[in-house]
């Protein structure tokens, strides 16, 4: 079992996130969400307008990712996106990072590191003791 082999997918979100663009975006990311333990970063730096359908789509992506033990993280939030996420109380549901790089890096953060330590421990314990 290799915990570090999974890719982190970064997707830049469109400037206007309404019901139509949200549908298109969801169609685009669906194959990635269907993967095992998907790791997605949505870059919202370009977002100038986001409505309830856009927020709903983000939640849907998160829910799909969680179902498969993955996660969706947000990065580079524009002021507009930040205000709407705050208004709709959804900002507290996501991990939000300053940059996409930081968000992508965070996937190798706490949990995988802990697991890595455990794996290393298991490996050591199964190694034959030198005679």
């Amino acid at each position: 079992m290799d915990i570090n082999s999974r890719p982190v997918v970064v997707k830049r979100m469109p400037e206007r996130l309404n019901s139509r663009t949200a549908r298109e975006f969801l169609r685009d990311v669906r194959p990635f969400l269907a993967a095992d333990r998907p790791q997605l970063v949505f870059d919202l730096s370009l977002v100038a307008q986001i409505d309830a359908a856009g927020v709903e789509m983000l939640l849907r992506c998160m829910s799909e990712a969680h179902k498969r033990d993955g996660d969706v993280k947000l990065a580079s939030l524009s002021d507009q996106a930040a205000v709407v996420l705050e208004l709709t109380r959804t900002e507290r549901l996501f991990e939000i990072y300053e940059t996409s790089t930081e968000a992508a890096r965070s996937f190798s953060g706490f949990l995988p590191n802990a697991m890595r330590q455990q794996l290393l421990h298991n490996k050591r314990s199964t190694q034959p003791i030198a005679a």
Partner: protein, 383 residues
């Protein structure tokens, strides 16, 4: 002595803007125009006129001014001419002194001392100042029409003689932007000002105008203000110096915290409005210092100012409620079947992937070739 008051309210930019002058915006139930007119009257200046720039209707007759205040409406290009005419008319009708106030800034000046200072100095024009800040508040001897004319023609920026300054230490808010507007609401609700919120103090610190509707289950926590005909729906919370102005509506479950909801604005259900000024399809978030346009009427919307249009909208809503429900019932997609618990428990978790003996789609480089607008930003580990 015949002392009269002249109030001027116009937009900062004299272009054809569609917005109302900031002085006509309600803060805790009354506009600064209304508050200043009342203040002048409190100081015994009974004859007050207001020259207000033409603007889309603010939904209240005569800008909410007391009935004995004469209100003159003027187009932006004729505004200063109208102000000068109003001054001349006062002079012709026997006024000896005119207290001229341009809003903008709201200052709780002591007009009695101000006028006395002007009389004692025997000046033609006296200007009011608060510290180093010169305010657009003047006391003008009505007989000095030329001095007044020079003031009006330079939009109060210059007088042909040097004006003595009267220093006043009263409350001052420049009302230069949304932050000041918000601060003004806080100052009124926390009683930092002499002026009070409109309506009745129903509980200590909670001001609700009589015809406002606070539904059962909604909470208004002090200090807070709910304006005339405003509606706070069930489960909503209004708190921390928030001000919901007249005809505004806060929908179910929404929390309004340290915010102002402008008149005729709708705030959608289940939202969290904090540190903001919301209305006219916009949110100014003071914490982030950003002005955001909200296009989704489910979040923030403007309501029609004309009562007829509001009534029509409500009637349409009521009449179409049942057909809409029927339509949704007939044509909406079928509900997903409830998963059977036993069956679900019997299934292998997809998380286990190949280890559980079935295939899972891989999110790898193949997929990123297939979808060129996606990028694999970083790979970790040895692959």
């Amino acid at each position: 002595m015949d002392i009269r008051g002249l109030l001027l309210a116009n937009s900062e930019d004299s272009g054809a803007t569609a917005t109302a002058p900031p002085a006509t915006l309600d803060v805790a139930g009354k506009s600064t125009l209304q508050r200043m007119a009342e203040r002048l009257q409190q100081y015994g200046i009974s004859s007050v006129s207001a020259v207000v720039e033409d603007a889309p209707s603010v939904g209240v007759r005569n800008f909410g001014l007391p009935s004995d205040v004469t209100c003159i409406s003027a187009t932006p290009d004729r505004f200063w001419r109208a102000a000068e005419n109003a001054f001349n008319e006062m002079a012709q009708n026997g006024a000896e002194l005119v207290v001229l106030v341009r809003l903008g800034a709201y200052a709780e000046a002591d007009f009695e001392k101000f006028v006395q200072f002007h009389i004692d100095r025997g000046g033609r024009v006296t200007q009011l100042a608060s510290g180093p800040q010169k305010l657009e508040i003047f006391c003008i001897s009505a007989s000095r029409r030329n001095d007044a004319a020079s003031l009006f023609r330079t939009q109060l920026s210059h007088c042909r003689i040097e004006c003595p300054l009267y220093q006043d230490e009263g409350y001052l808010n420049l009302l230069a932007g949304p932050r000041d507007l918000r601060q003004f609401a806080i100052d009124i609700l926390t009683r930092q000002t002499q002026t009070c919120p409109a309506g009745k103090e129903t509980r200590p610190g909670v001001w609700i105008v009589g015809d406002a509707k606070v539904e059962r289950g909604a909470r208004v926590l002090a200090p807070a203000f709910v304006g005339s005909m405003a509606r706070i729906r069930a489960g909503a919370v209004i708190t921390r110096c928030s001000s919901v102005e007249r005809h505004a509506e806060v929908d179910c479950g929404t929390v309004v915290e340290n915010s102002t909801v402008l008149p005729f604005s709708y705030v959608g259900a289940g939202l969290d409005l904090a540190h903001s000024v919301a209305g006219m399809g916009r949110i100014v978030n003071l914490y982030r210092d950003v002005d955001v346009e909200i296009v989704d009427p489910k979040l923030i919307a403007s309501m029609p100012v004309a009562s007829g249009k509001r009534l029509l909208a409500s009637a349409t809503d009521v009449l179409t409620y049942l057909p809409r429900l029927a339509w949704q019932g007939l044509f909406s997609s079928a509900k997903a079947p409830q998963p059977d618990l036993r069956e679900t428990l019997g299934q292998t978790s997809p998380v286990l992937g190949n280890a559980a003996g079935f295939e899972t789609s891989a999110c790898d480089t193949e997929a990123s070739h297939k979808f060129p607008n996606m990028v694999v930003a970083r790979r970790y580990g040895h692959q």
